[in-house]
Structure formats: C-alpha cells, structure tokens
C-alpha cells in the first residue's frame, strides 16, 4: 500500500489537479483543446527537464542549463545572419553545446570537482559568450520561415511542439531504460566508486550525460527562437529552477529516488497544469509561483516521510 502511494502518488496528484481544475472552470480548462495546449506549453520546460534527468541519473547537477538555452537561441540567429543554411546552423548549435557539455562532464568526472560549482562556472562562461555573440541585444530578422515552422503549426492535428516533446521523451527513455549507456549512468549515480570498481568508465559515461543535457538545452533555445521569432540573450533564464523542480517531482514518481523520464514528464505536467489552470482562474503569476513552490515542497516532504517508514 505505502509502496503503491510512493510509486503512483505523484501521478495521482497530477490527475487530481487536472480533475480539480476541470471542476473549477469546466468550460475553459477541461476542454480537449486546452489540454493539448498544455502539452504544447510544457514542451520547452519538459525537454530541458529531460536533459536535467540525464545529469541527475549520474547523480550530478547541470546549472549551465539556462545559459545553454539562451546560447542556443542566440547562436542560431547569429548563424542565420551570417548566411549559414538552416540545417547546418542547427547542427553547429548542437555541436557547440555538446562541446560545452563535454567540458563540464570531463571536469566533473576526471577531476572530481563538484558539478554544482563546475556548471555554475560553465554557465557563467556560456552566458558571457552569448552576450558577446548578441552584443547584449535581442536578435530578430533573417530567421527562415522553414525554421520557424519547427515550433509552429500542427502535423496530423498534433502541435509540432508536442511532437518534439514526444520524440525527445521516447529517445531519452530508450537511452536511460533500454540501452547500455543508461545502465551505466544509473550505476554511476547509484554508487560511483562501486561502478568504477566493477569496470564502468566514469569519465566518458559522465561526459555523455552532460553532453545530452547540453544538446537538449540548446535544442530548446532554438525551438524558443523558432516559436517567438526572435532571440534574447537571457531568454533561457526561467528554465533552470523549473526544470529541476520537474525532475525532483518526477523522482517521487515511479521509481524511488531516481531521476527517470516518465517521472520528469509527470513533474513537468504538474508545473504546466498548475500554471495553466491558475491562469484560467485568473490567479496572478506571483501567486502561481508561490503555489508551485509549495507543491514541490509538499511532494518532497511526503517522500521523505514515506522513506522514514522505509527504514532509511
């Protein structure tokens, strides 16, 4: 019974929140179109959070996430302005982010520096690079329509952004749950020294997690630019806390204490649903932040008290 609550409690909470809002504002919240709208609204946050899930799987943090979102959004426009074809520009952005991620991962794994500090420093560096690339200004113009379509419109009735989320989520779930890399990442996150002594190579595997997180953040930066048609050097600022909040909420779901993709999706959905529902009810945004924060605290506290009974 308690293990059932611990496994599915967070999911049940999401369902309860959805039902609650549906009753509170029946004509507006509970409609199919609004629910599809929510999946679209949560996409960018959820993809960043999935990147964070990879890093959390090895037991580390990536605080450069927000800076990488801004970096991706700006760099792609800078490349467009320089006349680089769109596919090449996108690849270059992902490649650049991968380099930053690889450096963070290498420093964390090879020199055993706290990832908190390493990625704080990397995030500061990336932020500086982004400002330098953009001269501190919001960039717009020269963005190809085809690129903007990546985050606009629908395919077969489903918003394109929602399809991105589905694709990334399935890919990350396969990597973490079905591929050898995932076994290694969780082993490192579970007990780094034991994994190392059992023959898991810490440095390349940890680097992979950071590279994945960095590339997903940069992807979100590009999707953000595609969606709003411009890029701001601080455009990713809001993603860091929300993404880790989603991962932490997700760690209370499905598996006990391990970052996992389905859980992260539930976590991101809770944050998105609460935001959407409260907006429809006309609750101010600062009140929304306070409520979201309280929900996260409550989820974590419920989990802690559940674990005490578990004898840990």
């Amino acid at each position: 019974m308690t293990s059932f609550v611990r496994r599915y409690g967070t999911l049940a909470a999401l369902v309860a929140i959805v039902i609650g809002f549906s009753i509170a504002s029946p004509g507006a919240f509970g409609t199919a179109s609004n629910l599809i709208n929510i999946t679209q609204q949560m996409t960018l946050l959820a993809i960043v959070a999935i990147g964070a899930t990879l890093v959390m799987a090895v037991g580390e943090f990536d605080l450069s996430t927000a800076a990488l979102v801004s970096f991706g959004g700006i760099l792609v426009v800078v490349l467009f302005k320089a006349g680089v074809p769109a596919p090449l520009a996108c690849l270059a952005v992902l490649g650049g982010a991968a380099v930053f991620g690889a450096v963070s991962g290498f420093i964390v794994a090879r020199f055993e520096v706290l990832s908190f500090i390493t990625t704080l420093a990397m995030g500061t560096i990336i932020g500086g690079v982004t400002f330098w690339l953009s001269s501190g200004a919001t960039l717009f113009g020269d963005i190809p329509a085809g690129f903007r379509d990546l985050a606009r419109g629908k395919i077969a009735g489903i918003p394109t952004l929602t399809l991105w989320l589905l694709g990334v989520a399935v890919l990350a779930w396969v990597v973490l749950d079905k591929v050898e890399l995932g076994r290694r990442l969780y082993a490192i996150g579970g007990n780094r020294e034991a994994a190392r002594l059992a023959g898991v190579r810490i440095v390349p595997n940890t680097m992979m997690a950071f590279v994945g997180s960095a590339m997903l953040s940069a992807l979100v930066g590009m999707l953000l630019t595609a969606r709003i048609g411009s890029a701001n050097p601080t455009g990713g600022g809001g993603f860091l806390l929300a993404a880790y909040a989603a991962v932490f909420l997700g760690m209370t779901a499905f598996r006990e204490g391990e970052a996992n993709v389905p859980g992260t999706l539930v976590g991101a959905a809770i944050i998105a649903v609460v935001g959407n529902g409260l907006t429809i009810l006309g609750v101010s945004t600062f009140m929304q932040d306070i409520i979201t924060g309280l929900i996260i605290l409550a989820a974590v506290l419920v989990r802690r008290t559940g674990m005490e009974g578990h004898g840990r």
């Binding site: 079905k178 591929v179 050898e180 890399l181 995932g182 076994r183 290694r184 969780y186 082993a187 996150g189 579970g190 007990n191 020294e193 034991a194 994994a195 190392r196 002594l197 059992a198 023959g199 898991v200 190579r201 204490g257 391990e258």
Partner: protein
C-alpha cells in the same frame, strides 16, 4: 621508559572482568580481562580482530558489553554513553584525528566544551591560559596559535592530548595507534609526552602495532586473541618473541591448502611495481590454481595494493601482467577483458549499487552478456533476469525476485552477488579483499568452497583476510605486509601463524612522510 613503575600494592584504578560482547553469532569479545593502575602506561596488543577496538568502545560508552564487569576503583560501573565516559575522566585519542583544521590548538581544545566567559562573551585570554598550562606539562614548544591544518601529524596528536587535558582532569587516556604515521622524531616527542602524562597520575592505554615502541614506553601489557585475554603482565618480564607467541597462539597449525600442481603456469605477475610511501618495488607471481594470501595489520597497505593490481589506482613504472600480457596501469577495463575479477572489501560502498536491482548489480560489469542481440547495445530485461537466475543457481544465492534491491539479502548472499558479477567469462585472476567480512558461519564456509572451486578451475587467487584461520585454511602461500612493504613470503612448513604475526609486526624504518602512505 617510564621510570616510576606503579606499585603493585595500590588498588587498580580500572578492572575489566570477563567482558563479553556478541554481535549475532560473532563473538567480538569473549572473556576479556584487563587491570590498569594509575600512572601506568599499559599496552593492549593483538592481531586484527582480536577485540581491541571493541574493548575500547565498551570503555567509551559506544558499546554496552553483553556480559562481564567494568570496575573503577573497585566499584562496578555501567558506561551507558559517551558523556558518561567523559564524566568518568576517560579521554580517547583516535588515529583519525577529530580536529577542526582552520582552528588553532587553543580553539580546538574547546570545541564541544564550555567556553570560559567574561561578561557573556568568550574569554579568549582565559582559554589561552588554560591551554598553555596544559601544554606546558606535555609539549612546551607546541605552537598554540597556529591553525592545526598547518601542523604535522605529530603536532596534531599533541593537540589532541592537550584537548584531553583541558577541562575536567582526565583519569584515563586511551591512544589508538598514535604513532602510525609519525616520523622518528615526532614519535619520540609523543613518547615523551605520554611519559609526562603518566607522571601526572593519568593511566594511559596505549594501542600500537609497533612492538619496539610498546617495549620502550609501556610498563605493562594485555594480549588479546579472539576477544579473550591470553596474557598480561609487566613489560620488563617479557620479550618481543613472547608477545608474538601470545598473539598468534596456534603453534602447531600449518597451511592447509595444497600448492598448485608443479609446472602450473604463472598467471599474474608483478615486476618491480613501486608501492607505498617509499615506492619500494613489489614483485611476485601467482600460478594457476594457487591461492596466495596477503596478510597485514590494518593500515599495512593490503587493500591499496589490491586496488593497484586491479587498476583502480595507477602506478608509474614496474609491470603487471596477466597470462603474459602487460596490463596498463589504472585501467580496470583491461583487467576485465583479460579475465580478472575483483571483490572489494567494503560491500556497501565499493561493491554494491544499492539503489539498483540485484539483476542490475550482476550485469553491470559486462553488459554485453545481457544484450538483446549481438552487436546492439540494447539491454534485455529477460536476459538480465536469466543471468541472475544462473548466478542464483551456480552460487546458491538465497533470493526472491531479481528486481529486488541487493539489501534485501543477507550479508553472505550479498557477498555472493559480488562473486556472481564475474561469472560467465573465463576467470583467470580472482582478487579478493576480505571475502568473508561480516558474513555468518554457514556463508563463510560456502564462500571458502567457492574460492577453492575457482582455484581448482585454474584461476590465480590473491586474497587478503584479517582472519588468521581463514588465511591458513585457504592459502598455500602467504605474503605478509607491514607499512607498505612485503616483510615475508611463507609457504610449506614455514607457513605458520607465529611467523605470519611476527612479520606483520615487523615495522620498517620510520620515514618522514607528510601524510600516511596508505
């Protein structure tokens, strides 16, 4: 040498009578006796696991004995907690020092103690006066105002002693391996401090692996073996050989394992691998079917040497080869590919990934074995479960579902998982660090059979153990280490407990390393 031997006529300050402490089926103490007089420097000696630490813990209130009596000045007492031990005037100085590095000696002396106050504020002048007074008796030239992080290990030991003297006057100071990482000069200063301490009427319990030191500064001794006091008396009336004989006992026992068949090929070969603080070259061979035991006291460097061979630590120079193929320093994956296997000492922290399932723990060292299809890095849950089932059968592990966590198993079965991790590939070398620590008697016997089976199948086994009986039962040859050096290589008739213990207490020349080597 303590010049004032305590008079035999005075009543003993501390007596332990028939002290027993059982953990489940394990008897850590089984009738320990101790008599300690005021002003005496008394040594407790014994091999690993003889019960020294447990005995000290009963004095410090960390453990309550299962049976027996602790008497102070002839009156039985129960020491229920650390605070009570402190109130009785007992002070403990552990090998791992508990000082705040950026605090000075003066500041450290008052950590966790009531500070002297003046008008509600801390009275720094009074603090310094009290520390200086304590230091004046023991170590007059210790720099009291320097952060202890900048001090040598020997000076830190002195700060610990001074800390023990500040506040209520102590009646007993227990020192656990205080000179293990000290240079000659520092050790001499510490000895002088201990002597002055004892002259102030404090009783000192002194635990050391250096028998020369014990002979030099202690006036009486107690020898523990298997949790039991097997000898006690005045140092003046015994010599080093006598102490070794008491510690080892089992005079008639010889190595019980058969040596490998003549002509068995060498599997693992070390040539001039630099090891320890001195970077002394280590060389030895292990042949197919041979179980080589590696014995040494705690801190001798056994685990570090195993880790170096396993590639968990790197080395510069020398060569380690397996079946004639050289292994790159610090590359664990090289060892695994060549057919080596390793079972670490610390199951919880170095062995098991406790947050992952049993099946995951068994698969992690070779994920190719549980692939969905050859050449594709996709893991099959079905194959992981099948592999767990294979291991369960092969090693008779008592477990339910393979997807449960490893901590749902008993210690012995957890240990079997760490062996099972390496099944499925031909095993050439098996490196075992304390393979039966914390397992019950039945599981111990099963693990012994496992080790013998792997050896019989042609593996070269390198095993450390602190259990002398296990060492004698399994190994046909034993290397003994002391302070990072190999001090004996024993086999055949030479393989007897007294020789092993003697070599383990063979401390080399002291050096002046900044930090302990291993």
């Amino acid at each position: 040498m303590s010049d004032a031997d305590p008079a035999e006529g005075t009543p003993p300050f501390l007596e332990l009578r028939g002290l027993k402490k059982h953990f489940g089926g394990v008897r850590a103490l089984d009738g320990a006796e101790l008599t300690l007089r005021t002003g005496s420097v008394h040594s407790i000696v014994g091999e690993n696991g003889a019960g020294k630490s447990t005995l000290i813990k009963t004095l410090s209130g960390l453990l309550v004995p299962s049976a027996g009596e602790i008497r102070i000045d002839g009156t039985p007492v129960t020491i229920a907690g650390v605070n009570q031990a402190e109130a009785l005037g007992f002070r403990f100085i552990h090998q791992e020092l508990s000082l705040v590095p950026h605090f000075t000696a003066v500041e450290n002396a008052f950590v966790g103690r009531p500070y002297p106050r003046r008008g509600g504020f801390i009275d720094w002048a009074a603090m310094r006066r009290r520390v200086a007074a304590a230091a004046g008796d023991i170590a007059p030239d210790l720099p009291l105002d320097r952060p202890v992080g900048q001090m040598t290990t020997g000076q830190k030991q002195l700060v610990e002693i001074i800390r023990a003297l500040v506040g209520q006057p102590p009646r007993l100071v227990v020192m656990d391996e205080p000179t293990a990482s000290l240079s000659d000069g520092e050790a001499a200063r510490l000895h002088a401090a201990v002597e002055r301490l004892s002259r102030t009427g404090v009783a000192v319990l002194y635990i050391s692996h250096r028998l020369d030191e014990v002979m030099a500064i202690c006036d009486s001794y107690t020898v523990l073996r298997n949790g039991c006091t097997v000898g006690a008396g005045r140092i003046a009336e015994i010599d080093r050989a006598g102490l070794v004989q008491l510690m080892s006992g089992r005079a008639e026992m010889r190595g019980q394992a058969q040596p490998p068949a003549p002509g068995s090929p060498t599997v693992l070969r070390l040539r001039d691998v630099p090891f320890g603080a001195q970077k002394r070259p280590v060389s030895f061979d292990i042949r197919a079917g041979e179980v080589l035991g590696l014995y040494g006291l705690v801190g001798a460097g056994r685990s570090s040497l195993l880790k170096l061979i396993w590639g968990a630590r790197s080395h510069a120079g020398g060569e380690i080869s397996l079946d004639g193929t050289s292994l790159r320093p610090g590359r664990i994956t090289d060892r695994i590919a060549a057919g080596a296997a390793y079972v670490p000492e610390d199951r919880r922290h170095e062995g098991l990934i406790v947050s992952r399932s049993i099946a995951d723990n068994l698969a992690i060292s070779d994920l190719r074995q549980v692939r969905r299809a050859k050449g594709l890095p996709l893991t099959s849950r079905g194959r992981m479960a099948a592999r767990a089932e294979d291991v369960r059968k092969a090693l008779s592990v008592k477990m339910d579902a393979p997807w449960n966590g490893p901590l749902t198993l008993s210690g012995g079965n957890q240990q079997k998982l760490l062996f099972g991790r390496w099944l499925g590939t031909p095993m050439r070398v098996l490196i075992l660090d304390e393979p039966t620590r914390g397992v019950d008697v039945g599981a111990k016997a099963e693990i012994h059979q496992l080790v013998q089976r792997f050896a019989a199948d042609g593996a070269a086994v390198l095993m450390t153990t602190s259990d002398l009986d296990e060492l004698m039962a399994l190994s046909s040859r034993v290397l003994v280490m002391a302070s990072g050096e190999i001090t004996a290589d024993l086999d055949g008739d030479a393989l007897m407990p007294a020789r092993v213990i003697d070599a383990a207490f063979q401390q080399g020349q002291r050096t002046t390393p900044k930090e302990p080597s291993v």
